[in-house]
């Protein structure tokens, strides 16, 4: 018995229909493609795939992972630094201190200015370090809190003191023992960053400012005060202003300081929270006074005599950018020699004369005076004893605290 099949197409017709789906107009409409691609995406990214892409634990290695040290056979070291954080000669292409290092040691320095932002750079090197791979960098420069995180994660190598005689002897006392790297086992400071209060004399127009409280409370400064988006700098100065110690504050102290700032924000006292762009606001006078970094203030003051700075009696915050050797770096010994070189007074002075941050090296004054008398007497570059006594540091945070505090602080800044 034959089965009844309605509307059966002849084989020729069937072939024609099949062809038309592949070749004809129907074959390639946007809609069918969209459908196809969504289907594909779903197939690729089905639920299984979704669960498969968890992020592995960031690290658990203690003491860092060395690689085979190729320092002997490969006379080179690659150094990643922030932009404009190194001396430059008149042509703008050579770095005299690095040239001198190469001349003396025969070690060629591959110098790259590829760090613009701590968080951004962390995102960049995280995948390699988490996977236990070489980042291609032998020396990197990171700010305290990120250096602390990398040490905590076990992503940087312990330095060999035998290769660091100058660094050991000449490191300025205020940088000797941060709580996140006691005795500087993993890191040495490149430059110190003092957080102070800057003001524009013209914009202040006779209003007296002495402390952070003046900035936060004086109604005449309403809407003309700037604070930094760097949580540790702004909160550190606030804690100091409230008589708390940034080295050992509690969560309650933090909340109290935050509430104090929140009141100022709610009153409209604070114009904005800024990153480095505060320099434009204070120069134009949109900020009458703001929390600022000393290195910038030295520069701004040179360009605009109206700009000056003050150190509150309660003290100022000091942090530093630190030289670190990441895991699996190929030229660890060369890296250590480079670090040590910058703790020789001569090299340190040349660098300090050019970049105007706080110099972390002792005994530089005479060398610096030979190059630039003003810089040698500037307490923002070479802090005198009185200045050093007022220097305070923000305590290191556990990763839980870090997330919690950053989140609360971000709320304060509006995001």
């Amino acid at each position: 018995m034959e089965q009844y099949e309605p509307d059966r197409l002849s084989p020729a017709q069937e072939a024609a229909v099949r062809r038309s789906f592949r070749n004809g107009r129907a074959a390639l409409t946007r809609r069918s493609l969209l459908r196809a691609s969504t289907g594909g995406a779903l197939a690729v990214g089905g639920l299984g795939a979704l669960s498969a892409c968890g992020i592995p634990a960031a690290g658990n290695t203690q003491g860092g992972v060395p690689a085979e040290d190729h320092s002997k056979e490969e006379k080179s070291v690659s150094f990643s630094n922030w932009t404009e954080y190194m001396d430059v000669d008149e042509t703008g292409r050579q770095h005299p201190t690095l040239e001198a290092f190469t001349e003396r040691t025969g070690i060629e320095v591959k110098y790259t200015e590829d760090i613009n932002d701590n968080t951004e750079f962390f995102g960049k090197i995280k995948p390699q370090l988490a996977a236990g791979q070489d980042t291609g960098r032998d020396v990197i420069v990171l700010t305290d809190w990120l250096a602390a995180r990398l040490i905590r994660l076990g992503w940087v190598q312990k330095l060999d003191p035998a290769n660091l005689p100058n660094a050991f002897a000449n490191l300025s006392p205020q940088f000797r023992s941060p709580d996140w790297d006691p005795g500087r086992a993993y890191s040495y400071p490149w430059q110190g960053i003092a957080t102070v209060i800057a003001y524009n004399k013209k914009a202040l127009d006779g209003i007296e400012v002495k402390t952070l409280s003046d900035l936060l409370d004086n109604p005449k400064l309403k809407g003309r005060v700037g604070l930094l988006t760097e949580m540790r700098d702004t909160m550190g100065l606030t804690l100091l202003d409230m008589g708390k110690e940034p080295e050992k504050f509690t969560a309650d102290d933090f909340d109290a300081a935050l509430a104090r700032l929140q009141r100022a924000v709610d009153k409209g006292q604070v114009r904005r929270f800024t990153g480095n762009d505060y320099t434009a606001d204070i120069t134009k006078g949109d900020f009458a006074a703001c929390v600022a970094w000393a290195g910038d203030v030295v520069q701004l003051k040179a360009d605009n005599p109206d700009i000056d700075f003050l150190i509150p009696d309660s003290g100022y915050m000091m942090s530093s950018d630190n030289l670190l050797v990441p895991n699996k770096a190929r030229h660890k010994t060369n890296a250590e020699r480079l670090i040590d070189y910058y703790f020789e007074p001569r090299a340190a002075a040349e660098l300090a004369a050019y970049i105007n941050f706080v110099c972390p090296v002792e005994g530089v004054k005479d060398e610096l005076a030979k190059i630039d008398e003003d810089a040698a007497n500037n307490p923002l570059i070479l802090p005198d004893k009185a200045m050093q006594a007022k220097s305070r540091a923000f305590r290191s945070l556990s990763s839980k605290e870090e997330t919690e505090f950053e989140e609360k602080f971000a709320k304060l800044t509006g995001a």
Binding site: L28, V265, E407, G414
Partner: protein
């Protein structure tokens, strides 16, 4: 099965010499699409899947993140940051409307009245793109500086009293207020409005205007009944090209705004980079994507130009 065996013999295949051109034709569209599809797969589909996965993970940087299907992150993110979402939509919509109001007359002028100046004006429209987005935004800080000529003039005319009363500005300044952010957004996205508007206006046959004139239509009627409806594709694509990036923008709010002008882009940035709460950041991105998709779909439906975008 029985039917198959009884089927008449299949006709012999067509002569081989006819085949090659056809076969090539069949695969060409797919081959041409391949690079684009691969690009989309690698740079769109995979990241989206990765983000989708991140948004339902829990954990910390040290312990690593695991997919736990923690959908509550979405709800928490939304209930915590809804003001920033509302603000983003509001600012982006205001900027889009301003762009349309500023851009339409200019596009009209370029398309119909500019004559030999047409190319010059077009270059002027595109010229800002030759400098970086950041520099352009920072320039506005100089233009709108406190005590600068613009702010002084606005103060003298008491315009800022009105805007302050409306809550758009604060005190006698423009910078660090919502108005500055919307102005910045408008400025930065204006060319994205003008270019599609110009393209669709330029395509209108001038004879249609003459015809309208011959049929005793006033200039305003001609615009309402002829020009504007024919320029709808430009209006729709212009508003989309402005609204979508503007609602995700965070640079303008960051540089020209203050604590009370933060948009959802700022929140995502700080969650991803400062707080390192990747799941919340990913969830926020998805909510933003969904919200924009919903708004855009609704808009396209309403404007009835589905086939024109």
């Amino acid at each position: 099965m029985a039917t198959l065996t009884q089927a008449p013999p299949v006709a012999p295949p067509p002569a081989p010499e006819k085949r090659p051109p056809r076969r090539r034709g069949r695969w060409t569209p797919y081959l041409l699409l391949l690079p684009g599809l691969l690009w989309l797969l690698v740079f769109f589909a995979l990241p989206v899947i990765y983000q989708a996965s991140t948004s339902v993970q829990t954990g910390s940087l040290e312990q690593g993140y695991e997919v736990t299907w923690h959908f509550a992150t979405y709800w928490e993110a939304l209930s915590e940051y809804w003001p920033q979402f509302v603000r983003s939509v509001l600012y982006a919509a205001s900027a889009t409307v301003l762009c349309l109001l500023l851009g339409y007359p200019l596009a009209y002028l370029i398309a119909f009245r500019a004559g030999r100046w047409r190319n010059l004006i077009m270059i002027l429209v595109i010229a800002p793109f030759f400098t970086s987005f950041l520099i352009r935004t920072l320039a506005w800080k100089t233009i709108l500086a406190d005590g600068g000529p613009v702010v002084d003039a606005l103060n003298a005319l008491h315009v800022l009293d009105v805007t302050a009363w409306l809550g758009w500005t604060a005190g006698d300044r423009v910078l660090a207020t919502p108005l500055a952010v919307v102005c910045g957004l408008t400025y930065n996205f204006l060319p994205f409005m003008i270019l599609p508007l110009y393209t669709s206006l330029e395509r209108i046959d001038p004879r249609l205007h003459e015809a309208a004139n011959d049929l005793y239509a006033k200039p305003s009627t001609t615009f309402r009944r002829v020009t504007f409806p024919l320029s709808m594709p430009g209006v729709v694509s212009g508003t989309l090209l402005t609204f979508i990036p503007a609602s995700g923008d965070y640079i303008n709010s960051d540089l020209l705004g203050s604590t009370d002008t933060r948009m959802v882009g700022n929140v995502i940035q700080s969650q991803f980079l400062r707080i390192l709460d990747y799941p919340t950041a990913a969830a926020l991105s998805f909510i933003l994507m969904a919200a924009i998709l919903a708004i855009v779909t609704l808009y396209i439906r309403k404007s009835g130009t589905e086939d024109l975008v």
